[in-house]
Structure formats: C-alpha cells, structure tokens
C-alpha cells in the first residue's frame, strides 16, 4: 500500500468550531456536513415539485381532457382553464418534471448531498479541499433551482420543448409559448447549475486525491467514495459541453446566429436562419445527456455497495471488479451518446459504431448486478429500510437495464424509439433505481446527518408502498410502449389506434397516485425525525467506515483529536477470527489475524 494520504489540515485550526452566528452556521456555512444537509433539503423540496408534476400529467393521460378541481387549484386558469389541462401546459409539466428530476433531484440532490457528506468523512479529511468553493457551489445550485421554479410562473409558461430542449422548438417562441421567457430562464438556470456542478466536482476530485488520511490508499477506499469520485470526473468532462450547447442556443435565440437553425418557415414567414443543424445540438446535448444518466446512477451504486455489505454483514463481493466496472462504465459512458440519435438523420454508419459501444455497457453492468447478488448470498441480512431500498435498487436496475439491450440496438430502436418503452426503461434503470439509492442513503446516513434515527416502521411502510407502486407504474408501461404509443402525447384518444390502451393507462396512473401518497410517509418521517427522532448512537449499523468514528454532534474538523489512521479495507464484515462481525477501517490488525485479500 504505497499511496498514503497527506494530512494537510491540522487539528489546531479547527478548535474554534463553536464560534460563529446563525448565518455562518446554518446559511453560509463552510462546513461540508452542513452543506450536505442544505443540498439534501433543497433536493427533497425540488423532488416534491417534480413528483407532483408527474402525478398531474399522469392524471391527464389516464382521463384525457377531464376537468379536475385539483388542476384548477394547482395549475390555475392559465394552464388549466375550467380545470381542464391545456395541451401546452401538459408539455410544460413533462419538460419541467424531467429537468427537475434529472438535474435538481438526482444530480444535485443525490451526488451533491452524499459527495459532500461522505467524501471527507469516509476518507478521513477535516473538510473539503476548498470549503469556500463548496459553499459557493451550493448557493449557485440554490440560485439555479430558484430560477427554475420562478420560470414556471412567467408569461408563456415554463420551457415546454421536452427536457432535451431540442431546437428549433426550444429556440422559437412562435413554435410553442414556453420557448419565450420560460426557455430563457431555463437556459440561464442550467448555465448556473453547470457552474455549480463543476465547482463541486473539482472540489470532490481534489479532496479525494489529496486529503486521504494515513493508510487510506486508493485500494482501501470505500466503493461509495470511488463512485462519487468517478461521478465527479464524468461531470467535469461532460457538463461543460452542455454549457456550450446552452450558450450557442442562447446566441441563436437572442442574437440571430444560426448554429442550430436552418430553412425555417413558421407562422407564414420565412425566418432568416441558414446553414445550422439541429443534429449538431443533439450531439452536444447527448454528449452530456448520456453520461448524465451515469452521473445519476453511479452514486446510487456506490451507496448501495456500502449499505448492502454493511447490512448483509458480508464483504462486498469482487471489490476490485466493482472498481473496474465503475471505471469501465465511466469510460464507455462518454462514447455512447449517439444511441439517442439512431433515427435523427445522422449517418447510419455512426449508428453501427454506437450500437457496438452501447451494448458493451451491458458487461460491466452485469458484473455489478451479479456481484450485488453474490454479496447478498449467504449473508446475515439486517432488514433495515436502507437495506430494503438497496435490494429494490438491484431489482429495478436489473429490470430496467435488461431492456437497454433492445434500445441500444439501432435496428430495434427504429421501432421503439421515443415510445413508452423508452419511458419504462429509463425510469426503472436510472430514475427509480437512483431514487431508491437516494432513499437508502438517507435512511442509512440519517444518524450521521442529523444525529437522530428515522422511524423504522414508517420506513417499512414507505418502502413497501413505494416498490409495489413503482413496479405497478413502470412494468405495465413496457406494454404501452410495445403497442407503439409515442411519448409526450397530451391525449391518446385523439384518434382510435390506441383506444384499447385506456384501461392500462388508468391502472398506471392509479399506481402512480397511490405511490405518491406513500411518499408522504417518508416526508413526515424525514422532517419530524430531525427534531423528534430517537437520539442516534455513534455507530448504529455497526459499520466499518471512518464516518462512524466521528462524534454524533457535528464539529468543525470532524474528529476532535488526531485524524484516524487506516489499517484495513472497509469490508471486513464477519471476518473469521475476529470477536465482532465488523472491523472498522481504523482497527489495527490483531495478532495472528490472517491478511486476506486487502
């Protein structure tokens, strides 16, 4: 074990942790643990908005053009006159649901929270490499989230061109009202978001590389940190490309350039654009857009690895294979973006290349799935809510991942492209899976975040309600897709071809609504436990990570005395010859203890 971390920050600088007023402690805090909480709570609130939107448009799909008092109440006269959702309002909701869930909940809410919380704690660092950059990153994220929410209320409504904002639809307010002020705010918000995300990612990478404590070599890093570290690298590589796409789109919209637009005749007149190509935008967008799904899923995988090992009381199976597959997925994720564009009109030869690279991703993914299953095999499984969500995660990851074999194959994609089959696929494999990962992380590290325990029984109800409903929503959706129903249709009964799917759509919506109700159990549990939860012990799950060696009360600098020294890998659970069924990373080897593997 040659690579030894450097202890840059000494303990003395952090002795003054109790000073500071309300603002420096709770608002403009430099402490990574507080920033993690800020990310989490912002993410949860954005999640409530995003999920609510999906329930509303699901109601419209199931009972098209029916009047609901709920719509009148929540959407107002502009989006739902007389309680009937308007068709452009439907597209606005779909667009904002996608944007909010992908970027604000599953990117910032998930990796923002857990990178901030876990990276310093698990590698044995006093804080992030730059606390100030970290604070800045959160507040820019907060600003972008605020702007995105404000954009819902501007004239013309929020962006409505789908979360992929393909021009020309997103560029021309004549084409759809949401492409006016709403789209401008969307682009500005996303630009700020990308700046925030890049600052955060740079910080995470710098911290992991430089601030590991003594003995914490890369080969002893918990898989959580590996996943968060690689996620940060993917973010640095791909997010700036989206920024460039957004900037060029701003030029096209506001300064009359033609990067993405050409030969357009709209509302009775020929527009001046000439020579641009919407396909160029698709390339730029998906160069981020595809890695983005791994930015969302890798942290969930990292959290799941940690929680599964801890609750199964077993070492994670194939530690090195897990790292290799994270790296493999990360590398492949940057060269598969074209599988979103098989029928975009790009050269079919590119389609062959992207089919090849895309299907290769199935290999590291299969390795991960089987390694999780083997870790669970022959364990002594503690069925805490976090563990249940991890088992749910592996289950949906498999169900959703398998259909990727169909969508990644250009020949088959011709026919199922942009149908509900795609919706079912990506919601299971990245949406629901990542959400389960996030829930698991919250239940598991809640004692670390807030010093209290979440209620177990509410957790069980939340879990079982959620898994049954999520499966009830997204499994039948494959069959809607295999009937050929295109996505983003405001109503499926405008012409008779899909009339026989009426029942199925109602069933899906009912599952979605009930599933939404079950989230109330979580919200209640989450917010009340902050104040009334049972006081947590230092290491409630008897886990090996360094984060559980810090005091329950948060202090600046994390460890009151010297930094812990690491002697072993993080997965020595149930090791034969040890008195307990766990061995924290800072526990020296016992005399005569066998040095297995790591």
């Amino acid at each position: 074990m040659s690579a030894v971390g450097h202890e840059i920050v000494s303990g003395h600088e952090h002795d003054h942790h109790d000073k500071g007023n309300f603002f420096t402690k709770y608002v403009f805090s430099l402490d990574h643990k507080m920033i993690a909480k800020q990310y989490l709570i912002t993410g949860v609130i954005m999640g409530i908005i995003g999920v609510m939107m999906s329930l509303l448009f699901r109601m419209q799909i199931a009972w098209p053009e029916e009047s609901f008092t709920l719509f009148k109440w929540l959407l107002g006269d502009r989006m739902a006159p007389d309680g009937v959702m308007k068709n452009d309002a439907y597209l606005a909701l779909v667009t904002m649901h996608g944007t909010i869930m992908v970027f604000f909940v599953l990117t910032a809410g998930l990796s923002g929270t857990f990178s901030n919380l876990l990276i310093p704690l698990q590698i044995g660092a006093r804080d992030m490499a730059s606390g100030f950059l970290n604070m800045l990153s959160y507040w820019m994220f907060f600003g972008s989230a605020l702007l995105m929410v404000i954009s819902i209320f501007v004239e013309g409504g929020p962006a409505s061109a789908g979360w992929t904002i393909y021009p020309p639809l997103s560029a021309l307010p004549q084409a759809i009202p949401g492409s006016g002020m709403g789209m401008t705010l969307w682009l500005i918000s996303m630009a700020i978001f990308i700046v925030s995300s890049t600052m955060g990612s740079l910080n995470y990478v710098a911290t992991v590389i430089n601030l590991r404590t003594k003995g914490m070599s890369m080969a002893r890093l918990p898989l959580t940190v590996w996943a968060l570290f690689v996620t940060a690298i993917i973010g640095i590589v791909s997010f700036p490309v989206l920024l460039s796409a957004a900037l060029l789109l701003i030029f096209d919209r506001s300064f009359g350039t033609s990067f993405f637009l050409s030969d357009i005749y709209l509302a009775g007149e020929v527009l001046h654009y000439q020579g641009g190509s919407p396909v160029l935008f698709e390339h730029l967008f998906w160069f981020l857009g595809h890695p983005e799904v791994y930015i969302v899923i890798l942290p969930a995988m990292g959290l799941a690895s940690e929680i599964i090992a801890c609750n199964a009381r077993k070492p994670i199976f194939g530690y090195r294979a897990m790292i290799a597959s994270i790296l493999g997925i990360a590398f492949l994720s940057t060269i598969v973006w074209g599988h979103h564009m098989f029928v975009s009109g790009m050269n079919p030869f590119l389609g062959s290349v992207f089919t090849f690279t895309t299907l290769l991703i199935a290999i590291p993914s299969a390795v991960k799935a089987f390694n999780y299953i083997t870790t669970i095999w022959s364990g002594n499984i503690q069925m805490n809510p976090a563990m249940l969500f991890c088992i749910g995660f592996v289950s949906t990851f498999i169900t959703g991942g398998l259909t990727g074999i169909i969508l990644g194959d250009s020949t088959l994609d011709i026919n199922v492209h942009d149908t509900y089959f795609v919706i079912a696929h990506f919601h299971l494999v990245m949406g629901i899976s990542a959400l389960y990962g996030m829930f698991a992380g919250i239940y598991h590290w809640y004692p670390k975040l807030f010093g209290r325990m979440m209620n177990k029984n509410l957790g069980y109800i939340h879990f079982w309600g959620t898994v049954v409903c999520a499966y009830g929503v997204f499994f039948p959706m494959h069959f809607v897709g295999l009937a050929g129903l295109p996505r983003r249709y405001y109503s499926n009964t405008a012409f008779p071809l899909f009339d026989d799917l009426y029942d199925l759509n109602v069933l899906i919506t009912v599952f979605a609504l009930v599933g939404g109700v079950f989230q109330l159990f979580f919200l209640w549990n989450f917010f009340t436990s902050i104040f009334y939860g049972k006081k947590a012990p230092q290491n409630p799950w008897r886990a090996n990570g360094l984060e559980w060696t810090t005091p329950v009360e948060h202090i600046h600098g994390n460890w009151p005395g010297e930094l812990p020294v690491v002697y072993r890998w993080p997965y020595d659970y149930s090791k034969p010859g040890l008195p307990e069924d766990y061995a924290p990373q800072n526990m020296p080897f016992l005399e005569g203890e066998e040095k297995m593997h790591h």
Partner: protein
Amino acid sequence: MTSLLILAVVVLLGIAVWQLTKIFELTQVGSGPDDAASQIANEKDNNINGYLLFAFLGFIYIMTIFCLVKYGSLPLMSNPASEHGILVDNLMWISMILIFIVQIFTQFLLHYFAFKGRGIKGRKARYYSDNDKLEAVWTIIPVITLTGLILYGLYAWNDIMFVDEEEDVLVVEVYAKQFAWDVRYSGKDNTLGKANVRFIKGINLVGVDMSDPNAIDDKMAKELRLPVGKKVVLKFRSQDVLHSAYLPHFRAQMNCVPGMVTQFAFVPTVTTAEMREREEFVTKVNNINNIRAERSQKLMAKGEEALEPYEFDYLLLCNKICGASHYNMQLKVVVDTPEDFEAWLAELPTLGEQVAAEEASNAPAEEQPAETPEELSEVNTDNEAIAQVVK
C-alpha cells in the same frame, strides 16, 4: 371496468398498509420506547421483511403474467407490414426471450437469497470476498451473448439503412409541419424537384422550386399511398421544428429535420385490405369499437356527438415533440395493389398544372398581374443571394 379496477387496487393497497402497520407494531413489543435500538431492524423485522421480499417476487411474476395475458398482443412485435420488418421482429423476439429468462432468473436469485439470508441473531455471514472464476463466468457469458446480438443487429441495420440507389424504387417525399403532413410524389421522372421553404407560396405548400424541370410533374397528396411489393424511398423534410415520421406497422422511423433531407426505405408487403382481414386486427378493431361504443353512450348522455366507428388503417405518427398539438399529427397510409395505386396516382394533378391554375385564377384579381411570374423568378435568385449573405 376501469373504476372497478381502480377500486380493487385502492382497497388492496389499503388493506396492505393496515396489515403492515399492525405487523410492524406487534414487533415493537419489548423494546424500550426511547431506545435508538428500537429503530434498528431486529430479528422479527428481518423475518417479516424477508418473507415480504419473497412475496414481492411473486408480485413481480404475477404482474408479468397479468400483462402478458391482457396486453400480450404486442403490436410492435407481430404482423410486420414490411419486408425488413420480419428481420426486425426476429431480432426483437430473440432479445425479448433472452431478457425474459434473465429477468425471471436473476430476480429469483436476488429475492430468494435475501429471504434465505434474513438475519438471525448469533449467525455469522460467510466471509466471501472474491472468486475469479465466478467473475470470469459472468463476464464471459454476457460477452458471448452480446457478440451474437451485436452481429445480428449490425447485419440488419446495414441491410435496412443503406439504400442501393441503382435499384428500381419509388421516391416519395413526406413533408412535416406543425401539425400536419404533406406528401409529394416524384411523378413520371421518379425524381423530386428541388425544394426550399423560401419557395413556399399559395398552392406550392412544400416550397418546390418550379424552375427545376424535375418539379413540374411532381404530385401532391394528403395521404401516403404505396404499392405493395415495391421498394419505396421516403425522403423527409420539415419546415419548422423537428418532427419524426413513425410508421410502427412498417417498423420504420426517421426524424424530419429542418434544413436537411433524411430518408428511410422499405418494401410494404401487406395491403391495407389484407391487413384488415387478419384475425388479430379483426379482434383488435372489434375491441376498440366496443370501447368507443361505451364512450359514445357517455358522450350522447351529455348531449354530445357519438364517436365514429373505427376501421383499421396504417398510420404515420409524429414521434418527436413538436408543439402543443404534437399528439394529434398523423397521416393516413394506404398500401394498395400496384394497379390501384397507379390508377389513383394518375388521377392526381401535377404540381405544374396546379401552380399554373392558381396563377391563372389569381391573375385577374390582382392589380398588377404581370408581376407574378417575375416575383417567382425573383425569389429564385433571392434565395441564392440570401444563402451567400448568411454564409
């Protein structure tokens, strides 16, 4: 039917919640009220949730069977109406069966292992962290399977996407705009006249350059008719935003991109009349008509008009978000016998005739009739000028 279904689901879930709370409450007996340990899973929790996980496996299987029985007609995987559709469907079935088996198998392992290993006090888990052989197995098996799928996929893809220009084909343009489709046949010369949105004027809806000699015999239509058994090359254009021409029955799809011509070629193999007579479609149409009849009754009760009965037709659907009425942008597609197709096509006027007729009828009405032809030619030269300026 639907309301019953909803009611059943709600009632079942209600019962499930009630039971769960009760079970979980019962497990709490014996642990102190203010003890953090009460919030950590104990042996009873492990047991209950272990059994529930196993039951969830049952739920997955039941859901699968339910969907297969009730919605297993899978229109995208049966009755292809094009030559390459058979190839696509084959690959689809192979992949689907493979997925199905892996899904059933791995879900079983996952939930069964979780159930089997539910925590018992005093038992020690097996310290098992590596096995190179096992890992090699589940790396190599996917590699082999995927190699097969990739090879088949690439073979089919090349077969479908690369069109041999030498072949005897029918060239047809499908033109998209918010929120309708236009169709242009290339006429006797089988060559479409050049076009650009800058030429759009009056009846010349898709901006054909009338100075191009190939354009005169082009023919416009409001539906897409195709002769059975002949390869058709569809050329796609869009005048405003992205659209996607999706022909699910023919396993065909291509985006329509403003500023660019895209294409997709296929051979229709089943005429509309033949398809209507197939058993699956008779059943499907009857089913839809029953549903529509029910809905009609409700509408009539409200004093609105009844719905028209449904008759099967191939459709081309818009499948790329394109604006508020994206959901209602289809084009009727008819596959005819070659004779019927030729007869239908022969009756359509050529674009040259239509434009001439429009000019003639406009001429007396306008104050300066002499300018009309000049205007047209002006537009032609203007276009080149504009192109240069922009560049």
